[in-house]
């Protein structure tokens, strides 16, 4: 533990980050079994697992300050208590172009967020971010590979254009200019955290179902 409790804004940011990773991991995992081809099925499922692993570590860190444990933070809150960006909540399964557009935009935004967190004053968070960064390098390679295949493709470009204002909402305003630069687009008004996209209630219902089925069980 830190000698001094981290500021509540930092804990809030960790929780929002954890919610992003959990919900995106969940949405990505909806492709398991039906990705465009077998190798991609393995890859995208592994990426989903990676995101959920990151969520777990971030929830554990937050739980160290807020009390409870990672599972309680991940599954026992009401839908309105989740702080994830609407970007990660969109259900894109069935549309691979849009899924890859989100994957690339998210990984790019995430690289900015994680790099900043490695310099956090909260030593445990800085250490965790450094560990995440090593794994995220593989997620980015995967996104980049697909970007090179799909860049210029009409459906892919349309999806990027449609998702762009959502993607900006992942980052705090001061970091959005950098994302615009990396993605090569003009900054526009972002879809902010604080409200949920359509379909989040159903996702929450599904995501918490097992946990609610036997309250207090050790799995």
């Amino acid at each position: 533990m830190s000698a001094q409790a981290p500021p509540s804004a930092a804990v809030e940011a960790v929780l929002a980050f954890a919610d992003d990773e959990l919900v995106l991991g969940w949405r990505d995992s909806e492709w398991t079994g039906i990705a465009p081809f077998l190798e991609e099925d393995v890859a995208f499922s592994s990426i989903a697992q990676g995101e959920i692993g990151h969520a777990r570590a971030l929830y554990e860190l937050a739980a160290g300050v807020l009390g409870g444990d990672a599972d309680a933070l991940a599954f026992d809150r009401a839908p309105e208590e989740y702080r994830c960006a609407p970007f990660v909540e969109l259900q894109l399964v069935g549309d691979w172009a849009a899924t890859i557009a989100r994957h690339w935009l998210y990984e790019t935004a995430d690289s900015i967020r994680v790099a900043a967190l490695t310099e956090s004053d909260w030593p445990e968070l800085a250490g965790l971010a450094a560990k995440m960064e090593r794994e995220e390098a593989y997620h980015r390679m995967h996104a980049q590979m697909w970007l090179e295949k799909l860049r210029g493709n009409e459906r892919f470009e349309a999806a990027v254009a449609e998702l762009w204002h959502y993607a900006l909402g992942v980052l705090e305003p001061a970091k959005r200019g950098r994302l615009a630069e990396l993605v090569g687009r003009e900054e526009v008004e972002a879809v902010e955290r604080g409200s949920h996209a359509d379909g989040f209630e159903a996702l929450h219902e599904e995501m918490t179902m097992v946990r609610r089925s036997v309250p207090g069980a050790a799995w």
Binding site: E39, V42, A43, S45, S46, I47, Q49, G50, E51, I52, G53, H54, R56, A57, E60, L61, E124, A126, G127, L128, A130, K131, M132, E133, R134, E135, A137, Y138, M141, H142, Q144, M145
Partner: protein
């Protein structure tokens, strides 16, 4: 009387839950052992955050300490202190023998796709370096899939992180 040396010896016998040919000490996830009378503190630095074997590893480390008649305290360290460079030479040899190509040493900047596609990773079955990257991702977070053009055998490559 439990000594740190005895604890290290005992932990070196604990197999990795997913790649049991290699021990948790070979894998480099044990960072420190401190003995204070009957209490043994072990610093455990997990591999990948998404690895579902984390809890099993932690529990097996604790069991091994208990089997020595000591009281374990397993501290999980979630920073970047684990890297594939922590896998011991013995661990690398064991991986190779069981069909996993061991990871390349980590460069300061970390791996890139160009490197992974171009580098001559050796096939653990026939030794050929005529192999190609088939999938960056594999059956667990720590593995990629490669294919050997010489013996036509797909094989698992431990990811460098």
């Amino acid at each position: 009387m439990v000594t740190a040396e005895k604890v290290w010896e005992a932990l070196a016998e604990v197999p990795d839950p997913e790649i049991p040919v290699i021990s948790l000490v070979d894998l480099g996830v044990v960072r420190e052992v401190e003995v204070d009378g009957e209490r043994v503190r072990v610093e455990f630095t997990p591999t990948f955050l998404g690895c579902p074997a984390q809890e099993v590893m932690r529990d097996r480390l604790a069991e091994a300490v208990r089997a020595l008649g000591a009281e374990p305290q397993i501290d999980v360290v979630l920073d970047d202190s684990w890297s594939t460079d922590r896998i011991t030479p013995e661990g690398r040899r064991k991986l190779q023998e069981s069909g996993f190509a061991p990871p390349h040493p980590r460069a300061a900047a970390g791996p890139t796709l160009v490197q992974l596609e171009a580098q001559a990773f050796r096939c653990p079955y026939c030794g050929s370096s005529d192999t190609r990257l088939e999938n960056l991702f594999g059956p667990t977070p720590c593995r990629s899939i490669r294919y050997c053009r010489t013996c036509r055998q797909p094989f698992e490559q431990f990811k460098t992180i």
